[in-house]
């Protein structure tokens, strides 16, 4: 089985959505207090969870027609997008490392039709 570009696109888009989910979970967690009402009325937390679930849907659609050994490592791209949202100069080396990894896997000539 080869990995079509559209499968890569679904998974990468899923990681982008998931990273927004992480951001909203973080913001929502900052608005939590010790009562049920604040938990239920916390729209940021709900949005974060919703975005995470949506990213799962994108992942399932993507992984359906592609190689798991190519698409699963791409999930680590979510760390890159999340990191970029809190980008500091000292983080650039880490971003480079993960992006390089993604390129190595995604441009693997025998596995992906890119």
């Amino acid at each position: 089985m080869k990995t079509p570009l559209v499968s890569v696109a679904w998974v990468v888009l899923g990681t982008v959505i998931g990273s927004f989910g992480a951001v909203f979970l973080k913001i929502g967690a900052g608005h939590l207090s010790r009562n049920l009402k604040s938990l239920l009325s916390n729209w940021r937390l709900a949005l974060g969870i919703g975005l995470y679930l949506l990213s799962s849907v994108f992942y399932v659609i993507g992984v359906r027609n592609g190689e798991l050994s190519v698409l699963y490592p791409m999930v680590s791209l979510g760390s890159v997008w999340t990191l970029l949202r809190w980008h500091r100069p000292s983080n650039s080396g880490r971003v480079f490392k993960v992006v390089t990894t993604w390129q190595l896997v995604a441009w693997s000539p025998k596995s992906a039709q890119i």
Binding site: V60, L68, Y72, P109
Partner: protein, 136 residues
Amino acid sequence: MPTVEAPPKTESSKRQGRAMLAVLLCTFINAASQAFIKLGTASLGLHPTMLETAVGIVTKPLLFAGYALLGVSTVLFVLALRKGDLSLLYPVLTLGYVWVTVLSVVMFHDSMNPFKIAGVAVIISGVAVLGGASNA
């Protein structure tokens, strides 16, 4: 010949060891969950819509099992974090990429090449660097 006794393990190092074992278990559960998800996608039909996929995650047994295992793994990881250092445990979690790669080749007959191996190796080293940076 004099015998040298190993120094007694402290309670802290024992806890760290148990946490490490728990995270190792997480990596196996993660890999199993990915295999279930991949197997479950076959039950979604030829061209599932986004809504059908979302419903399928809850209604298709293999997909549901995959995501349930991810949940179990997350809970186990959180419990492990209470006992051990994040900087040590998080890099161990990336072993999941290795197991998934092995499972992909064995179960789904994915092709293997040096680029994939190098990619997974860089992910693991990248996370190890991140873990080290959290202590710096």
